[in-house]
Symmetry: C2
């Protein structure tokens, strides 16, 4: 066997084991017996130790030295790009640091949950400081003297930099705040849905929507989870949702969102199965798929028209007077505290403040002790409302407790990419709205599969979006889309 | 760290990974998307390769050489007994042979399923010959010049020998055949249940029965599977069942059977979690728990009396005129073709013929090509009925296709052990029948937990039964129990 063949065979097993680790996570959040948590932590720890050993295996270093990427075909070269990158990161991290991070973040997540339930920031602070110290140490080990935050960001969005993202966010903020203020000043507040929507019907509708959006049930399944997520790559890609009988949009749009993630994974070229190209290429590109499914398609006027009819037929009453009122309820703008409940206008403002705060935390210019005050000040400034309690403020997200610094901006990057793809999609498919009005998303999801999803990890993140759209990704299409949609909806 | 501590830490991770492998199996049989089978095979293969490498890791050999078992406490010494045994077996097997067996049996299982569906023995023969050749090779590698069949049997029932089991089976056969003939000649054929029993009610009853038998839902769950099984050790022990709306006993007694397996695992001393003592000690002892739950307790007259009332209340009609007719339906003796559907009288006759045939296959005195004829001749002799087609005969069981030679006798060993435990149980608990009549199995399952289950792998298989019963395990209590029960039931 050549060094390349040996490395690929080794990598194939590593990818298979990584899928197993993902499945353990799915199991834990959906079907695991309550009393199995401690044992599961041991199981995950043992499997992660195996994965860590493989990712830093000296044989990988030897194979990498022996391989001349220039002599490979483009697919081989793309695989090497991922493996080289991952190996370079892995060997920079001392094993003691990785183990300490795993231990501390596992503990921190539990403490965060307690602190959030008790609205007690002080309970969370000591362990947050510990997480932060370790993450800064990790960033320093990875950064080679470069920017600490970029070193963390690179794990979720290869090639992105905080400077570039920060500049884009600054350009976005002005227009978003203006739009927000126009809407808030318009004196219209569309009614929410009224009524009770039984779980069985919601799950039936979620199942139907997933099918319409092209989710492949032969290679997936839908379960309930406290926090919806998608999981797995290749031929086993599972999604989850949750049900609130008074708010059917929770289940429906969580499902469509996760279907976007799931279809990305399911849509990847089967030739890439269990290779470094066999998964979504970055968090930002992943989020572009979930967002365009959920928002630009799922919350569009034509699609909600179809949905209104389905809701009437399933529940007897869709909870709104007519399709127009239903569309307004789906897209109701409201400056709430919680990121995950935010509308399309506010969502990115939530992200931008987290991005700025976590950059300061990693840079060391903001200490954990001052985080709550910084959060509250910034929130009131951006949203015009004072935070009423920590669980509605700095304690709302799990991310920092588990060490996910550098992850937040990929949500907005996903929205920006979705804006670009939406523009390209509509110019490629002039009859799209007519199809959506019939609940037919086939042309749109087919286009996304062909131009984005099937490539998996072949292209760099930004490149796959640029190639699909025919222009360099930027924030303008998203902002134009939001202005047009909400100007019309709020008669601005 | 001492060699012992190092070995225990290493073993702890191996046990955790083995639990993960078990969970993948559970997932595959219960919730896995249909189209994920090929990927799952890769995942299981990768994890098995990791486990194999750990089981034969040269460091284990070094630690084993450095440890003086005589200096350990009894628990430490018992752990060493398992690890030494498992390492000695593992290093005897060439990796190429293990890999070939994994590959061939995976293929053979698929071919067997096709052959069974088509009633085509010829389709199965070539791959069966291949499996058999590899298993004989494996046995030769393990046997060190000793008996080939014993080397395979030892994997499922440490310490047992085919000679000892064969002699016991010969003693059993005469009395079983006599009992069978008395019953068949009695001219009574109790009615089966009549009626339709909706799935929802069956699952509710299965859930209730599991709870009554002490199954711990905090550390387990019940799902549907094509072939019911139990899975997992420690704090995550899952069981499965199946539903036939015309035969509620299928679901109910499958559940109680798996609850017996599950309670054994759940009942093991928590101090043994993720150690070699943290799982049932052998297949025979495991089966003793599932069988005593299912048969000696679950199919007893007092317990079926309680069950009759529950069936009436859940389904409106229990499908039998009265409790006595219900008890007779539960224990109806019928000489069918299929082992898994056999009553208590016939079951062991099914096992004995498989045991004799597979001993000859492994010894090389019977070839795969002659197996069907040997099966059919023996079946007609023992059961008085000619096999009508291969799926009711030689193709009915999955075992040989997946290389499980030496496994079958542990089913009857389990029945024999259950007979012994049942005798001890009734003399320890004179009021047991009165409790069972109220659906209360607490005293019985408590006794089994205390005397058998909690020990996990601490004692050798036979020793744990002997210690629980106060006498050397033998077949007489089972045969006496069967005679007494069926003489009364059939008025013999």
């Amino acid at each position: 066997m050549t060094a390349f063949d040996s490395l690929m065979a080794f990598q194939h097993e590593t990818e298979a084991l990584a899928q197993v680790a993902g499945r353990l996570g799915w199991d834990q959040e959906t079907v695991m017996p309550r009393g199995a948590a401690a044992q599961r932590a041991e199981e995950i720890g043992a499997l992660e130790a195996v994965l860590h050993a493989r990712r830093t295996d000296p044989r990988v270093g030897d194979w990498l030295s022996a391989i001349d990427d220039a002599a490979l075909d483009p697919v081989g070269a793309a695989k090497m790009r991922h493996i080289r990158r991952s190996y370079a990161r892995a060997v920079k991290l001392p094993e003691t640091l990785s183990a300490a991070l795993a231990r501390v973040t596992s503990r921190a997540q539990g403490i965060w949950a307690e602190a959030r339930a008790a609205d007690d920031v002080g309970h969370f602070l000591p362990v947050l400081e510990e997480v932060l110290r370790l993450k800064r140490e990790e960033a320093a080990a990875l950064a080679d003297g470069g920017d600490l935050y970029d070193a963390l960001l690179d794990d979720y969005e290869p090639g992105a930099t905080a400077a570039e993202i920060g500049a884009m966010f600054d350009r976005m903020r002005t227009r978003l705040v203006m739009l927000r203020e126009r809407i808030m000043g318009a004196g219209r507040d569309p009614a929410r849905l009224s009524g009770q929507f039984p779980e069985e019907g919601q799950l039936r509708l979620a199942h139907e929507a997933a099918t319409r959006f092209g989710y492949d049930w032969r290679h997936g399944r839908l379960d309930k989870a406290v926090h919806p997520f998608s999981s797995g790559s290749g031929t086993d890609v599972r999604i989850t949702t949750r049900v609130d009988e008074r708010d059917p949009f929770n289940c429906l749009y969580s499902t469509i969102h996760e279907v976007g993630h799931g279809c990305y994974e399911q849509g990847i070229d089967p030739a890439y199965l269990l290779t470094p190209l066999g998964a979504g290429v970055s968090m930002g590109v992943h989020e572009s798929q979930s967002r365009i499914y959920e928002n630009q398609l799922g919350r569009s006027r034509p699609f909600t028209g179809w949905l209104f009819g389905r809701m009437q037929s399933i529940f007897g009453d869709a909870g709104a007077a007519d399709a127009e009122a239903f569309y307004a309820a789906v897209n109701r703008v409201h400056s709430g505290y919680i990121r995950t409940e935010a509308d399309e206008v506010h969502y990115n403002l939530h992200i931008m403040m987290r991005f700025d705060l976590e950059r300061q935390l990693i840079a060391g210019t903001l200490g954990a002790a001052d985080l709550e005050e910084a959060w509250n000040t910034r929130f009131e400034h951006d949203f015009g409302v004072a935070v009423d309690r920590p669980s509605n403020g700095v304690l709302q997200d799990v991310h920092w407790s588990v060490g996910l610094f550098g992850y937040f901006p990929t949500y907005t990057l996903g929205n920006v990419y979705a804006g670009c793809l939406n523009l390209a999609l509509h110019s490629a498919l002039p009859d799209l709205d007519a199809a959506l009005a019939k609940g037919d998303t086939g042309a749109a999801t087919g286009w996304l599969r062909e131009h984005v999803q099937r490539h998996g990890g072949f292209h760099e993140p930004k490149a796959v979006i640029e190639q699909a759209c025919g222009f360099e990704p930027n924030e303008v299409p998203l902002l134009d889309y939001l202005d047009a949609k909400f100007n019309a909806l709020y008669h601005l």
